[in-house]
């Protein structure tokens, strides 16, 4: 009985030690807050060497960072990942080097779908129209789901020229939602693109979370 109590005590201490270690090493918690990336008051109207303009057109939403003295280079579009940001800090950093940058949301804005699920790729045409970049070469920088999006867009928009992709994907995966049915991440001309369902995995992302 005494040995069993000791073992249970050791087990409890071990579990809480692991929890403490993870909280401190990875800065995780069981009550993570979801950031709101759509409060415009959180964004500046200018950066060190230029101006910032928020725009909406059709299903496009984002920021145009225009340097005062732009360098001769094709415009850059930056996408965030599944967190839903427009990767604004990166856009700011790049535009300070003289690049004209567009920092785009692809879901979550009030003219877009709420979640990363069944996103209409035609939002990119609305962006091209707004930025007057039809038939112009564009570089896209995307991370994770934004990298997947960038690759998918190459199939429909000749404007996409160079790519910088962080943690890219060779496949189209399902949308990342947990309070509705996850379908394809992307829709083109009213048709869901074929996708890989990650919940087929016994060690599913849902359980991992």
């Amino acid at each position: 009985m005494f040995i069993a109590a000791i073992l249970i005590l050791v087990l409890v201490i071990t579990l809480f030690s692991l929890r403490f270690y993870n909280v401190n090493k990875y800065n995780v918690s069981d009550m993570q807050e979801t950031e709101n990336y759509h409060d415009l008051s959180d964004y500046p109207e200018q950066f060190s060497y230029g101006t910032v303009r928020y725009f909406k057109n059709g299903m496009a939403s984002g920021f145009h960072l225009q340097p005062d003295t732009p360098i001769a280079a094709e415009p850059i579009v930056v996408f965030g990942g599944s967190e839903g940001s427009s990767n604004f800090p990166l856009a700011e950093q790049i535009s300070e080097q003289g690049y004209e940058v567009y920092s785009l949301f692809f879901f979550g804005a009030d003219n877009q779908v709420d979640t990363l699920n069944k996103i209409l790729l035609e939002f990119f045409q609305d962006f091209l129209d707004e930025a007057e970049l039809n038939n112009e070469d564009i570089t896209i920088i995307g991370g994770s789901k934004g990298a997947e999006l960038a690759l998918v867009l190459t199939n429909y928009y000749n404007e996409v020229h160079h790519l910088v992709l962080y943690t890219p994907s060779s496949y189209i995966y399902q949308g990342l939602v947990f309070n509705e049915e996850a379908r394809s991440s992307w829709i083109w001309e009213d048709t869901e693109m074929l996708y890989i369902d990650i919940t087929h995995n016994p060690v599913s992302l849902l359980l991992s979370n």
């Binding site: 929890r19 996409v160 910088v164 992709l165 962080y166 943690t167 994907s169 496949y171 995966y173 990650i198």
Partner: protein
Amino acid sequence: MFDMFVLNPVSYRPTYETAVEMNDHSQEARIDLSHIDGHALLLAGEQNEGDIAAKEIGEVLDDQAKW
């Protein structure tokens, strides 16, 4: 359950790897890279599935890519 309690970080790699293997139409869900006419810089770590994809994409794009 254990991972949730001790707050282990989410491990995406096995999830995505197994999902590709188990889906019957994985090849149809593969992204067509044939329309890329510029260059691609591919960056990924080894803790998720991104390094495998970066290598696959890089091999297809050949001289057009650095990874």
